[in-house]
Amino acid sequence: MATNPMHQFNVYKIGPEIKINGIDLSFTNSSLFMLISAISISIFLLLGTKDKKIIPGKFQLLSEMLYNFISKMISDTAGKKAKPYFPFIFSLFIFVLFCNMVGMLPYSFTVTSHIIVTLAFAMFIFIGVTILGFVIHGFKYLKIFVPSGVPVILLPIIMVIEIISYLSRPVSLSVRLFANMMAGHTMLKVFGGFVISLGLVAGWLPLTFSVALTGLEILVAFLQAYVFAILTCIYLNDALNLHH
């Protein structure tokens, strides 16, 4: 085997070492690809908002479709109250999507395949939503752990389950994205390695798999960004409209 399939996830610093209070904050390849994604998003949206046409061009149409897509997603899951959080959900979706998509380019780095990145997002969302819930509903927000219509005897067990499920939200949210991205890229790399090691004779089979997997991974990249955004919307909905 030529290279380690996990090698692609290595983080190494680019440029000088930056240390603040003994914490290494150096610019790394991960930071570089975050930057590339951010710049790609800016260029895409710049092209999409350059012209103000009644009949949109390709980029304008794309950006407006994206806007409508996320707008519909938010109004479907979290209702009208979630409107102020539209830019955040929009940024979140497009950033995760672009990170995933940039990661699909050969020799690139997938920012979202690192647990710490997705966990940072998930923790931010989790803490933000929890604070929002307490700010809007006060201590009544704790009702989220007490579903209505549950027999009193079952209540303690249900409450424990609800609390655990609530607390595991950031974990499931972050691990879902991270694991999907890592698994996909590892598989691609493994099959890519097989193409070389099996050579001209039998290498066609893993190559076919590789091509098919690339298609699948692009789908997964979109799907995971969508799932990440829609779960954020659902958590937001719980905090905005207390249903339990």
Binding site: M1, N4, P5, M6, H7, F9, N10, V11, K13, I18, I23, D24, L25, S26, F27, T28, S30, S31, M34, L35, A38, I41, S42, L45, L46, G48, T49, K52, I54, P56, Q60, S63, E64, Y67, N68, F86, P87, F88, F90, S91, I94, F95, V111, S113, H114, I115, I116, V117, A120, F121, V175, R176, F178, A179, N180, M182, A183, T186, M187, V190
Partner: protein, 190 residues
């Protein structure tokens, strides 16, 4: 989801034994965690502010502008349609009125013509009657006249004949009386 995660872990476990060159998952190496969070915060905040302050309002503006334009166009189209409907109604009512008027004129004309024909007919009939009456009268007169003339002629012829035959003048009044008597007989015969 569980499938993928378990597959990944299985894959990783087997891979770790196969590719023992590098240690485990680089994701779990905490060396650059702080750096990743730090740069993520900076870059994501940057892109968030760009999107929130510039791009989303711009896209929203575009969509709103298009919607208002479309609404305006639809309103205009509706008002035009209403006007067209109104015009059509007006036109229809005008046509109906004109038809009614035409029918009225037609029936009036027919009536008038009928009356005219009737009156002319009556007039002509009257005239014919009058003419006939006059003609009858004239014929009667003419008959009488002609009879009188026949009398006179007869008298003259008779007197001439008598004169030619008898070579003498007869009393004119006696001839006249005889002729008128014969004529009266004849007239009675007629």
């Amino acid at each position: 989801m569980i499938k993928i995660i378990s597959l990944t872990t299985l894959l990783l476990l087997t891979l770790n034994t196969v590719f023992a060159a590098e240690a485990g998952m680089p994701q779990l190496d905490p060396t650059y965690w702080a750096s990743q969070i730090f740069w993520l915060t900076i870059i994501f905040s940057g892109i968030y502010f760009l999107i929130a302050k510039i791009f989303v309002p711009k896209i929203k503006g575009n969509i709103d502008a298009r919607e208002s334009q479309i609404r305006k166009d639809i309103d205009e189209a509706n008002s035009l349609k209403e006007e067209a409907d109104r015009k059509l109604q007006k036109y229809n009512s005008l046509i109906d009125e004109a038809k009614l008027e035409a029918r009225k004129i037609l029936s009036d004309g027919r009536k008038k013509i009928n009356e005219d024909i009737q009156s002319k007919k009556e007039q002509i009939e009257k005239d014919i009657q009058k003419e006939t009456l006059e003609a009858t009268k004239e014929i009667k007169k003419f008959k009488i006249n002609s009879l009188n003339k026949v009398n006179i002629i007869s008298e003259e012829i008779i007197s001439d004949i008598i004169q030619d035959i008898f070579k003498e003048d007869l009393n004119k009044s006696s001839i006249k009386a005889t002729v008128s008597e014969v004529m009266k007989e004849r007239r009675n015969q007629i």
